[in-house]
Amino acid sequence: MPFITSATAAKEHYDVIIVGSGAGGGQTAYTLTMDGAHVLMLEAGRKYDPATETPMFQTPDLAPLRGDGTTDKPFGFYDATVDGGWQVPGEPYVQTRTDDAGRFDWWRARMLGGRTNHWGRISLRNGPYDFKPYSRDGLGFDWPISYEDMAPYYDKVEMLVGVYGTSEGLENTPNSSPGCLLPPPKPKVSDLLVAARAAKLGIPVIPGHRAVLTQQLDWKTSPAKLHPGNPAAQKLIAEDMQRRAACFWATPCGRGCSIRANYQSTTVHLPPALATGKLDIVTDAMVHEVTIGKDGRATGVSFVDRTTGKQQHAAARVVVLAASACESVRILLNSKSPLFPNGLANSSGKVGKYIMDTVGSSLDGQVPLLESLPPHNEDAASGHQMYVPWWLYQHAGKLGFARGYHIEFGGGKGMPGLGTAAELEWLTGGSYGAKFKQDARRYYGSFVGFDGRGEMIPNEHSWCEIDPSVKDKWGIPVLRFHWQWSQHETRQAAHMQKTFADIIEAMGGRVRGRVETDGAKAIAPGGSIIHEVGGAIMGADAKTSVTNKWCQTWDVKNLFLTDGAPFASNADKNPTLTIMANAWRVADQILERMRQKEL
């Protein structure tokens, strides 16, 4: 009976309650239950089953509007996200600015597994510099931990979820321990052309790292490394690893994967956690408050059962928030009591401060060399076979902006979509008729797109608070966002544009549209890259941070955060792998303290 009702959960007393079921919540639940803790997971969205709900081979002509994105399904009809997007009906939020340069758009995914169901699966480790950015350039904050603290957990997560890639020994781009990574997929012709021509500009192109099984996981040797001294857990995960199929090189990962060949919490973390018999899950449970006892410790959480509209309460020794950075912040700020009048764990006044996203900017090029190539299958690994890690660490301080970015790129003859033969007029001179059909064949697959993903430095002007009047449909007060980029981000975006144009030119290609040299216009609006982190940062000082290095709140000893909220910086590396590694690290600490009877 792992999926239970809210009424049943209310009668139990758990070791740990986890709010949220995505990368952070999923990993926390996995680690805790594999070691025997009795865990309740509360998910605001509905139950979701990738095995039966994933549209694996459906083609655009079977979908409404040829599968194109709408406000109901922003990443297209077949995107795995249900009940999610930058706007969720009945769940508003407030923006103090709505212009492109000054707004923060908040993505949510109200479903079991959260945004892990649709994410890009790009799984990059933070490097040693990324944990100590303040020490390097005096900006932002250091993490109270180092790369060495996280490295063993990166190894474990890579072995558990399955990440392809290589160890290249490049600066601040860490190697994995032997046996952690799966072999990378073969590159596509467009990947190889980018690599060859970027190399001439001194820009390195190396195999990408993505959470996709290019072969079956090493179920014979990994389990002992994942769970030393725990034969029951080893047996369980060895069995589950054998149930996951390797990638069959078709169907976009963003739809989710019914054969479990990529990572999503619902296919990788939750099945073995449920198999322990130690995990209960209540879906449609909208948590809005952490409740507090007279001793100042968390007693559990209050939530709205969305199926009945009724208030419920669940109790536990430990509460872990992993609801997504801003949602966890919202819960803390809404948890007001006589002991904590400014919201829970907020004696520093830092809850809601230092919200970060990733710097994003894009440019496409058309490459004559790639025109009219003989037909061949280019579905590959569904993206990111190769990428460009940040390559200018030695130029730090000389570029007009601190920190760096990596480049994701892609081309090739993918499944034709609504845009495949659109907006070709600049190439065709306005052809229609027989000539247009020839042009469509010629240009199909000849475009390469570049996306920069760069570090944002936390600042005092990017934060959120509870709006004094607006409430969601359950009467829960909502967040109000403030947002501002600094020149470190906007100049970086302009640098991305120039770099992309240089690479396109080096490929003999032509830029589509224009190269935006004004960084404020080149940068994507806050929140649009969906790498929301910060808001309850970890630190070494209770006066300037919300949690200690164990992501344990300074003010409430049995309250922990395992999503992106405790991130003290947001390196260019996509945050999900670090969220998982950190969650495992924190969960190990929770287990240790429960054994010591401190919790």
């Binding site: 509905r46 095995a51 039966t52 709900e53 994933t54 549209p55 694996m56 081979f57 459906q58 083609t59 002509d61 409404p64 509007l65 040829r66 709408t70 406000t71 109901d72 399904k73 009809f77 009940d83 999610g84 997007g85 009906p89 997929p185 073969k186 590159p187 596509k188 012709v189 190889l192 052309l193 054998q242 149930r243 199929a245 069959f248 090189w249 078709a250 019914s258 054969i259 060399l369 061949h376 299958n377 003859k413 993918g414 499944m415 034709p416 979509g417 609504l418 495949t420 033969a421 659109a422 007029e425 306005g430 052809s431 229609y432 008729g433 247009f436 059909k437 469509a440 064949r441 199909y444």
Partner: protein
Amino acid sequence: MDRRTSIKWMLAAAASVPSLRNYAFGSEPLASTTTAGLPGASGYGTDPNLVNTYKAGELWPLTFSAKQRNTATVLSDLIIPADEMSPSASAVGVIDFIDEWISAPYKPNQKDRHIVLEGFDWLDRESAKRYSKAFAALDQAQQRAICDDICHAAKAKPKFANAAKFFARYRDLTAGGFYTTPDGRKDLQYVGNTPLKSFDGPPLEVLKKVGLA
């Protein structure tokens, strides 16, 4: 589980039809950011059944009158006529798609609705002015004479600027509708969306052609 079994599973998943969840379209409140441009029309909501197959007109009422449908057919087939590789746009359901597109209650679709319907009216006005007939009733040389004036926005005369914007958008919709059909995919020689035992990368002849082998 071996690969064969996993592929069986996958095929079952791909074929799975109307689903476990009885989701009634339109039973959800309209998303706050969608615009109900048509009476009674709503979007498919944030939790549609993804493994269903959908047909134009199923989710929201369609728009085209018989006359508009006729104009659409003529224009789409001028843009994508039949040739030795594939049928014409109208022969593979593109008109149904365009009707579905301009009838959808989402903001970008509502914008296209104005562009397309006003564009059809303009075509008829221009045809009447030049040839005293509706656009669909002209012979192909006459139709092409009008299209030639509006097919390239950058070079169109100022008086045709709006008509050229319409033509560009209509060509994009026609092409998008066409190349997303099985015939359109075949025309482009797309060969993916099929499970493979291994992904081997580009063949040698491809690498040679771009100078990488």
